[in-house]
C-alpha cells in the first residue's frame, strides 16, 4: 500500500482489458480490479459472445428449415439444451481464459474483487477471498460498464428474465414475451424462436429498433413478422402478475385499450444503465450526469484529473468496440501522447436475421440536424449473391454529401450485414467520396458488390438496376 501504482483499471470488460493490455505494452505498471476470475466483462460473459453463439445455432436451424424451399428437407431438429448451453459456456471460458493468460503474460496485477474510491488517489478493494485492502494509485480508469435496466414494481418471479437470465437458458419456454424491440430483445427473441418458443414482442414506439433508419428496420420487420407469434407496436406494458403458467401481462394499445395475455416467460430488454453507483465517486471530483453517465472530455478524462472513464459508463453508444477504442485513448493520454477520441463513424450491428448494420450519419441524424444529404440505395433483389443464398431481403444504402460527394454514412440490412459495415467505416474515416467506392473493384459474386453498386447508383448507372432516364 505504501507505493502508489501508476495505473489501475476498474472493470475488465472489452474497454478495461484493452486499456490495461495497452498500458502494459507501453511499459506501465498496471493492475486490474474485476469481480470475475478472468477478463471479459458483460460482453464475453453475459452479452455479445454468448448471444452470438446461440444466434449461430439459431441460424443453422433456420437455414435447415429454409432449405426445403430448394429441395433439401431435414427432419425437425432435436435440441439438447444442456449441450447447447455447455457449448456456449465452453466458448465463453475459452475466450475469457485466453484473456486471463494474456493478462498474466503481460505481468498485469489481477485483483479479483470490487473497488470503491476513498479519495482521488486511493481505492478500497473488497476482494473475492473476503479480505479488504487499500490501493493507492496515480491514475485510474473507470470501466465498470452497465447492467440491464429494470421496470419498477415488477413481481419477484423466476419467470421474468433479463438478458443475463435469457442467456443462462434454463429451459425453452413454450411462450415468451420480449418487452422492448431493441437489438437485445430482437436478437434473443430470434434465438428462442428458432429453438421452439412462440415469441411475441411488445414495443412502445411505432417501429422495431428505434434509432435505426426505417427502411432498414422495415426489412427486418417484414421477415420476423412471419416468424414471430405477434409483434405489438405502439403498445405499453401496464402490469405483470404471476399466474399459474407464468406471467400474465396487461397491455395498453395506442388507443389506450387494455388487454391481457399470459406467457411462460417474459424477457425485459428495455435498455441498459451505467454502473456508476457504489463506487465511492462522491469521494472524488468525478461528475455524473442525470442519466448516471460519468462526465468526460475528449481524452476520456473525468472532472477529476487522476480518473478517466471509458465504455458504457462514459456514455452512449454502449458498444464494446467503442469502449476498447476509448480505453486506448485514455491510456495513450496517460502516457503523454496527444490523442483524442474522435471517430467519424462508430459502427452498430444488430445480429438478427437478417442482420442490420450502420455507421456514420443516418438519415434520422441528417433529418434531425437539418442537413441536406443524398441517399443512394441498392436493393438486394438485384444481387446475384443474394439470389444464390435465396435471401434477397436486403438493402444497402449510402448517405452522401451532395456537394463534396463524400460518404457520410452507410446502412445495410441483409444476411452478413455485420461483416460488411467495416468497409463503410473505412470509407468514412478515410474521407472517401462516392466515386472511390464505385471505382474500387469488389469481388464477384459477393454481397460486398452491393456497396459498389450503391455507389454506382448514386451516379445513376448501376449495372444491375435499370433506371429510365428522367425526361425534362
Amino acid at each position: 500500500m505504501s507505493t502508489s501504482l501508476p495505473l489501475v483499471v476498474i472493470g475488465a470488460g472489452p474497454g478495461g482489458y484493452a486499456a490495461a493490455f495497452l498500458a502494459a505494452d507501453l511499459g506501465m505498471e498496471v493492475a486490474i480490479i474485476e469481480k470475475e476470475p478472468n477478463p471479459g466483462g458483460v460482453c464475453l460473459y453475459r452479452g455479445c459472445i454468448p448471444s452470438k453463439a446461440f444466434l449461430h445455432a439459431a441460424k443453422i436451424i433456420s437455414e435447415a428449415k429454409h432449405a426445403k424451399a430448394f429441395g433439401i428437407e431435414y427432419n425437425e431438429p432435436k435440441i439438447d439444451i444442456n449441450k447447447l448451453r455447455d457449448w456456449k459456456k465452453s466458448v465463453v471460458s475459452k475466450l475469457t481464459g485466453g484473456l486471463g493468460q494474456l493478462a498474466r503474460a503481460r505481468k498485469i496485477k489481477y485483483i479479483q474483487g470490487e473497488a470503491s474510491f476513498i479519495n482521488s488517489n486511493t481505492l478500497k478493494i473488497k476482494k473475492t477471498d473476503g479480505s479488504v485492502e487499500e490501493l493507492s494509485f496515480q491514475k485510474a480508469i473507470l470501466a465498470t460498464g452497465s447492467r440491464p435496466s429494470v421496470i419498477p414494481n415488477l413481481p419477484q418471479s423466476p419467470d421474468i428474465w433479463d438478458s443475463t437470465a435469457a442467456l443462462d437458458m434454463e429451459n425453452i419456454p413454450g411462450t415468451l414475451l420480449v418487452v422492448g424491440g431493441g437489438y437485445i430483445g430482437m436478437e434473443l427473441g430470434t434465438v428462442y424462436h428458432e429453438i421452439g418458443s412462440k415469441v411475441s414482442v411488445v414495443e412502445m414506439t411505432p417501429g422495431l429498433l428505434p434509432g435505426a433508419d426505417r427502411d432498414l428496420a422495415d426489412v427486418l420487420y417484414k421477415h420476423v413478422k412471419g416468424l414471430f407469434n405477434k409483434i405489438m407496436l405502439e403498445t405499453k406494458v401496464i402490469k405483470m402478475e404471476t399466474s399459474s403458467n407464468g406471467i400474465t401481462v396487461t397491455f395498453a394499445d395506442k388507443e389506450g385499450k387494455e388487454f391481457k395475455e399470459e406467457y411462460n416467460k417474459v424477457l425485459v430488454s428495455i435498455g441498459r444503465r451505467p454502473n456508476s453507483e457504489n463506487l465511492g465517486l462522491e469521494n472524488t471530483k468525478v461528475k455524473i450526469t442525470p442519466r448516471g453517465f460519468v462526465e468526460i472530455n475528449d481524452q476520456r478524462q473525468t472532472a477529476d484529473p487522476s480518473i478517466f472513464a471509458i465504455g458504457d459508463i462514459a456514455g452512449d453508444p454502449m458498444l464494446a468496440h467503442k469502449a476498447s477504442h476509448e480505453g486506448r485513448v485514455a491510456v495513450e493520454t496517460i502516457a503523454g501522447l496527444k490523442v483524442a477520441f474522435e471517430p467519424q463513424a462508430i459502427p452498430a450491428v444488430v445480429f438478427t436475421d437478417p442482420e442490420i448494420s450502420w455507421c456514420g450519419l443516418t438519415e434520422i441524424d441528417a433529418a434531425r440536424a437539418g442537413r441536406e444529404v443524398s441517399v443512394a440505395k441498392f436493393p438486394w433483389a438485384a444481387s446475384g449473391r443474394a439470389l444464390t443464398l435465396d435471401r434477397t431481403d436486403g438493402l444497402t444504402k449510402l448517405i452522401i454529401d451532395p456537394k463534396t460527394q463524400r460518404i457520410l454514412g452507410m446502412g445495410i440490412v441483409g444476411v452478413g450485414a455485420g461483416d460488411m459495415i467495416a468497409e463503410g467505416v473505412m470509407a468514412i474515416e478515410m474521407g472517401a467520396v462516392a466515386q472511390d467506392l464505385k471505382l474500387s473493384i469488389h469481388p464477384h459474386p459477393t454481397l460486398s458488390e452491393t456497396i459498389m453498386e450503391t455507389a454506382e447508383s448514386f451516379f445513376g448507372h448501376s449495372t444491375h438496376i435499370y433506371r429510365p432516364k428522367k425526361m425534362n
Binding site: N297, D298, I334, L337, D401, R406, G431
Partner: protein
C-alpha cells in the same frame, strides 16, 4: 552553470536541423520561450526552453543536425537544467509534468488562471472587468464613449465602450455578464488592454470564450497574429485568419473532416487544428502532405520571432557622429514596417513603367468638375483599373504557396494608399466595378474625410484586391511601389507634366502621366504586366469611351 539539452520534440522525432537560433549569448531565457527553430522530417518546429536562465554559450550552429538530449546551450543562473528533466515537450508546449492533464471538462478555473482577463465566478461576487483584447495587436486607446451606465445588466457581446485607437474607432463588446456596479474609467481617458474598466457583480461564469480556448493558446496566438497585415497596412484577408492555429492545449474534436485517422493524429501531434488545414484531395480530403505544408507555412510565414528581422543586425552607435535620439515606433509604423517587409521578402517584385497621355482626359475631367465639386483623376484611374482587373484576372488573385494554389476573386475591391498625420493607411473601395466614376469620386471624398477624422474602420481597410498609390500631388517622375500582400499588384501614379510628344510629324505639347505597375512575378508574367499597364494607358487615353455616370 549547467547545460540545456534539446528536449523531447514529440513522438518518434529524434533529431532535426537547426534552421534558426532565436536567442544569443547573454540572453535571459524563460521557461516556454522559443529558443530554436528546428526542421525535422515532419515539420519545422519551434523548440521552447524547458528551463530558465542566462545563456552563457551557444553550443550549436544554424544548419547543424542536433539530437534529442544533445547539449545546445551553456546556462548560468536560474533553474539548473540538470534538475529539470527533459520532459516530453511537444512543439511549443510548456508542460511541467510528465503526464499532461488535459483540461478536464469542468475545470474552468485552470483555463481562467491562464487568461489575462480572467474573472471570478462565485455567485454574486463583485469583480473587476478588464478591457478585453481589441485584436490585431491593439494595446491601448482613448475612451470616446461609454455605452453602459451603473445599474445596467451586461450581456456577453453587448457593446460597452467606444475606443479610438491609432487605427480606427472601435466598439468594444463585453466578454462577461453581470450587473455594472461602478465605472472606473472616464471619457477621454487613455486605457490599456487588461486595465480594469468596470466593477461587475456577476453570478455567471464569465469569459466563456476564455474557457473554450485551450490554456496556453493565447501565448501562441500573438506572434502568429503579428504576421497578418493589420489595418495599418490594409487588407487583413480572411484567408490569413486561420494562422492562429498551432495550439498548445488539447485541440477540439472536429466532426466531419475529410482526413484519415492517421492524418488527424499527425495534426494533433503537431498541435494543428485539422479544421484549419485546407485539403487538396477529392471532396476536400486532407492528406499528410497538406498537414505538413500547413505546419511549414505557419512556421515559416511567421516573422522570425516578433519582427526581429528588422533588427537582425546590430546597429552602430549613431551618437559617435553627432547627437541622435531614439523614439518608439507607433503602432501604425510597426505594422507598416512588418507588413511591407513581409511583402518585400515574400513577393518577387517587378515594376513596369509607362506614360499615359491624359490631355483629353484632363479636358473631360475639367468639364464635369463644377465649382464646388472637384473631380480628380483618381476616380478615372480606379474605374479603368477595375475594368482591367476583369480583363486580366491574374491581377485579381492571391498566391497560396502552402497549397500551391492561386485564389481568383470574383469581386473587385480597390485600396487607395492615404497619407495621414499618423502614417499610411489603405482604405478599400468595395465593388468598384459596380460604381460609376461619379460615385467613386463621392465615395473617395467621404473616405478621405473619415481617414482625416480617424473614423476609418478596420473593416474598411480589409478585403482589397489591388492598391493604387497616387503620389502625383507631391511630385516625382516614377517610383517602385511595394505590393500590398496578399494582393499581387499595385499601381503607382506620379505627377503629370506637359511634354513634347511627336505626333504626325510635329512635337505637340501633351499632358503625360507616369504610371508604375509593380506585380508579383510568381503569378504575372512580364508580357502580361506590360499588357496590363498598356491596357490601362490606352483606356485612359480615350476618355470618350468612359461614361462617368455608369
Amino acid at each position: 552553470m549547467s547545460e540545456l539539452k534539446l528536449p523531447e520534440l514529440g513522438e518518434n522525432i529524434t533529431q532535426g536541423t537547426v534552421t534558426k537560433i532565436l536567442v544569443k549569448s547573454g540572453d535571459a531565457i524563460k521557461k516556454g520561450q522559443n529558443i530554436l527553430e528546428l526542421e525535422t522530417d515532419k515539420a519545422v518546429l519551434e523548440v521552447p526552453s524547458s528551463v530558465e536562465g542566462i545563456i552563457e554559450e551557444v553550443l550549436i550552429k544554424s544548419g547543424a543536425v542536433v539530437k534529442v538530449g544533445q547539449a545546445i546551450f551553456k546556462l548560468g543562473g536560474g533553474e539548473s537544467a540538470g534538475t529539470a528533466k527533459s520532459d516530453t515537450i511537444a512543439p511549443k508546449v510548456e508542460e511541467p509534468k510528465k503526464i499532461p492533464d488535459p483540461q478536464p471538462v469542468a475545470s474552468v478555473e485552470a483555463a481562467q488562471s491562464q487568461k489575462p482577463n480572467a474573472q471570478p465566478s462565485a455567485p454574486g461576487a463583485i469583480f473587476e472587468m478588464l478591457l478585453p483584447a481589441l485584436g490585431e495587436n491593439i494595446e491601448k486607446g482613448t475612451v470616446t464613449k461609454i455605452l453602459v451606465r451603473v445599474g445596467d445588466v451586461l450581456k456577453k457581446g453587448q457593446n460597452i465602450l467606444e475606443i479610438e485607437t491609432d487605427k480606427a474607432v472601435l466598439e468594444v463588446p463585453s466578454n462577461t455578464e453581470g450587473l455594472v456596479k461602478e465605472i472606473l474609467i472616464k471619457n477621454g481617458a487613455a486605457i490599456k488592454v487588461g486595465q480594469p474598466i468596470f466593477k461587475i457583480e456577476g453570478n455567471t461564469v464569465s469569459n466563456a470564450p476564455a474557457s473554450a480556448i485551450p490554456a496556453g493558446k493565447q501565448e501562441t496566438e500573438q506572434p502568429l497574429k503579428e504576421k497578418t497585415p493589420s489595418a495599418a497596412s490594409a487588407s487583413v484577408e480572411k484567408a490569413a485568419a486561420p494562422l492562429t492555429a498551432i495550439a498548445a492545449g488539447p485541440l477540439p474534436i472536429r466532426k466531419d473532416i475529410p482526413a484519415a485517422p492517421s492524418v488527424r493524429l499527425l495534426a494533433r501531434e503537431l498541435g494543428i487544428d485539422i479544421g484549419q488545414v485546407p485539403g487538396s484531395g477529392h471532396g476536400g480530403r486532407i492528406t499528410t502532405d497538406d498537414v505538413k505544408a500547413y505546419c511549414k507555412m505557419l512556421n515559416t510565414a511567421r516573422p522570425s520571432s516578433a519582427g526581429s528581422a528588422l533588427v537582425s543586425k546590430p546597429l552602430p552607435d549613431f551618437n559617435k557622429w553627432g547627437s541622435a535620439r531614439r523614439e518608439a515606433m507607433s503602432n501604425v509604423r510597426k505594422k507598416t514596417a512588418e507588413h511591407l517587409s513581409h511583402a518585400w521578402n515574400s513577393i518577387p517584385h517587378v515594376t513596369q513603367f509607362d506614360k499615359v497621355d491624359i490631355t483629353e482626359l484632363e479636358k473631360l475631367r475639367k468639364s464635369i468638375s463644377g465649382t464646388n465639386k472637384k473631380i480628380s483623376v483618381t476616380p478615372f484611374i480606379i474605374k479603368v483599373v477595375a475594368q482591367a482587373l476583369k480583363k486580366f484576372p491574374q491581377f485579381n488573385s492571391s498566391v497560396d504557396m502552402a497549397t500551391q494554389e492561386v485564389i481568383f476573386k470574383d469581386y473587385i475591391n480597390i485600396g487607395l494608399a492615404v497619407d495621414t498625420d499618423r502614417g499610411l493607411i489603405v482604405p478599400v473601395l468595395k465593388n468598384v466595378d459596380r460604381m460609376s466614376i461619379l460615385q467613386i469620386s463621392d465615395e473617395l471624398a467621404a473616405m478621405a474625410e473619415r481617414a482625416r477624422t480617424r473614423k476609418t474602420t478596420i473593416e474598411e481597410m480589409q478585403g482589397g484586391c489591388f492598391t493604387i498609390s497616387n503620389l502625383g500631388g507631391i511630385g516625382g517622375t516614377s517610383f517602385t511601389p511595394i505590393i500590398n500582400w496578399p494582393e499581387v499588384a499595385i499601381l503607382g501614379v506620379s505627377r503629370g507634366s506637359m511634354e513634347p510628344v511627336y505626333i504626325d510629324g510635329n512635337f505637340t505639347p501633351r499632358l503625360m502621366l507616369p504610371l508604375s505597375l509593380s506585380y508579383d512575378h510568381r503569378i504575372v508574367d512580364g508580357a502580361d504586366g506590360a499588357r496590363f499597364i498598356r491596357w490601362v494607358c490606352e483606356a485612359l487615353q480615350q476618355p470618350s469611351a468612359l461614361d462617368v455616370t455608369k
